[in-house]
Symmetry: C2
Subunit: 169 residues, 2 copies
C-alpha cells in the first residue's frame, strides 16, 4: 500500500476502466499535502482549491471524493453533523477519532488493538474487512467549562457505564 503517485493512480484507475484527469490528480495532491490530523469536507475542499485558483466544480469534487473513497484511496468520516469529511487513507497510519459533540474538535489517536479486534470479529463471521473506524464522542474541557452538557441525564456517566459492564460479567 505505497502512497499514490500520478502513475500508480492512473494505473489503478485505468485497470477499472476509469481515467486519470487533472481534477482527480489535483484532489489527490491536496489530500497528500494536507497536514496529518486534518480532514476536509467536499465544500472545504472546494474552497481550498478556489483559493489556489484551481477551481473544480463542486459536482466533480463530490464525484471524485466518493470514487476515491470506494477505491480505498480516501477514508470517509462522520466527524460532524450533516456532512462527511475525507482524509487520505494510509493503512500504515490507521487511526481513530475523538470528537467533541459540542465544538466538533477532532483528535486522532492510534490504537492497533482496535483493528486487531475488528479483524478477529470479522473473521469469525466470514466477512471481509474494508475499514474500521472507532469514533469516540466526547466533551472537551472547554465545553465542560462552559457548563455543557445540560442535556445529559443526571445519572449518566461513562465510567459508571463501563464499571457496570465490567461488574456484570
Amino acid at each position: 500500500m505505497l502512497p499514490y503517485t500520478a502513475n500508480t493512480l492512473k494505473a489503478e484507475l485505468n485497470s477499472r476502466g476509469w481515467r486519470l484527469t487533472p481534477q482527480r490528480e489535483t484532489i489527490l495532491h491536496v489530500f497528500q499535502n494536507l497536514p496529518h490530523g486534518n480532514h476536509l469536507s467536499a465544500d472545504e475542499l472546494h474552497h481550498v482549491l478556489s483559493q489556489r485558483g484551481e477551481t473544480i466544480s463542486l459536482s466533480t469534487i463530490y464525484r471524485s471524493v466518493k470514487l476515491m473513497a470506494r477505491m480505498g484511496i480516501l477514508r470517509e468520516l462522520e466527524l460532524a453533523e450533516g456532512h462527511k469529511h475525507y482524509e487520505l487513507n494510509r493503512p500504515q497510519h490507521h487511526h481513530h477519532h475523538m470528537v467533541c459533540v459540542q465544538c466538533n474538535k477532532t483528535v486522532e489517536f492510534k490504537n492497533d488493538s482496535i483493528l486487531k479486534q475488528s479483524l478477529k470479529q470479522v473473521d469469525r463471521d466470514g466477512l471481509q474487512l474494508i475499514d474500521c473506524q472507532l469514533t469516540v464522542t466526547t466533551i472537551c474541557p472547554e465545553a465542560i467549562r462552559m457548563g455543557w452538557p445540560s442535556e445529559l441525564p443526571s445519572n449518566w456517566s461513562c465510567t459508571r457505564a463501563i464499571s457496570e459492564t465490567a461488574a456484570e460479567e
Copy 2:
C-alpha cells in the same frame, strides 16, 4: 442506568424543563420493545407507528429521537448512507457494529476492550467520554459471491494493512 419507565423518563425530562408527552413515551416504548439487533431510522419508526394506528408526525419523530439521543436514552448510528439509525442505549449491552458496504446488513458484536481503550484515550486528553462506536465496514459473503467489490484497488487488503502496521512498530 436502569431502563426507563414512564416515571423515570418524566423525572429526567422535567428536571431539564422538558415535558413527558404521549409521543415521547410511545417512541421510547417502541425502542424498548424492539428486538435486540434492530435499528430504526426516523422514517422506519414513522411507519412502524403508522401501522399500529399511533401516528406521530415525522417532525415530532425527528425532534424526539434527537432529543433522546442527546439525553443518552438513544444511540444515534451511521449504519447506512444518507440517514441515521437509532437504537436504545443500554450501557450494560454496549456493543459495536459491522456493516456490509454492499447490502448494509448489520451485525452487532460486543467487545469491552474497545470501550476500555476509548476511556483510556479520553482520560489521557482530559476529555469526558459520552459514547464510543466502532463501525467495521465489511463485505459480506453474499456480496463476495456476487463479485463485489470491483472497485477496490487490486493491492488492497485489510490483512496486509494490519500486518504492515504490526511490522512497522
